[in-house]
Point group: C2
Chain length 154, copies 2
């Protein structure tokens, strides 16, 4: 079994993880929108310009999906993650436009041993995406379940 970097015990309140960055292209914005969120301002630059957004913008769900991808690559894939029961309070604070680069971080808000399952615990983190102008574009609180570090036997 591969050794993992992050078990439940490895999270402490106040920890911050740099989850990397991602640059959105117009093509990807439109591809996601055609499949999942075909509103005019997500589909086409001209129709975006005609809207109150003033141009093509990414679906908020696309931004969240990219934040998830960065989290999997940098943190979850190296961890004992067992999935998530949910997410609280997604805020889409500013539009994400073609060419925008978001930088994503997560910081640990709460760590709590599971009462019913002694092999695992719950970690609550605040995820934020900030664009190249230093503006927060999206934030939410996510809850994850993680296995505890296995006891080494002598």
């Amino acid at each position: 079994m591969a050794t993992l970097e992050y078990y439940f015990e490895d999270f402490s309140v106040g920890d911050t993880f740099d989850l990397g960055e991602y640059t959105f292209t117009a093509e990807e914005i439109v591809t996601f929108a055609r499949q999942f969120d075909p509103q005019p301002f997500h589909l086409d630059e001209a129709r975006g310009r005609a809207s109150h957004f003033g141009g093509l913008i990414a679906s908020g769900w696309h931004t969240c999906a990219i934040m998830m991808r960065l989290n999997v690559d940098r943190l979850l894939s190296r961890s004992s993650s067992m999935g998530s029961p949910g997410v609280e309070q997604i805020e889409w604070l500013k539009p994400v436009r073609p060419g925008d680069t978001i930088t994503v971080t997560s910081s640990t808000l709460e760590v709590r041993a599971s009462k019913s399952r002694p092999d695992r615990g719950i970690v609550r983190q605040l995820w934020t995406a900030t664009n190249q102008h230093g503006e927060e574009v999206c934030r939410f609180r996510g809850t994850g379940m993680y296995l505890r570090r296995p006891v080494e036997r002598a």
Copy 2:
């Protein structure tokens, strides 16, 4: 200008909208996961079976994206929607597996005129996805901005 079916005035607390249904295939689950959520139990049936989920399951973000698509097709595209500032309390209650069909509804929790912008209002709705066994698999509360119905001039 096309006449829209739903302006701010057309939402009332307690209204329920049937947003239709969607059946997930293994191929779509894996395609979404490769791009946005490459955790083992979203990528491969065998690795799903080896996990505590007992099989391949859809990313919770995939379920949300499909719920959004149904909402756009059945409601938002016929409405004066101006987008959403966010979503509260996403709960991923049960796994969604290949072949599962979800039925999605939204029901109106709150309607509120904007104080700062007299041309629009805010509608809060509860979205739920229920599988073919009658089990809720995902729910969240979403907030949308809608323009008011234009005044007709004589």
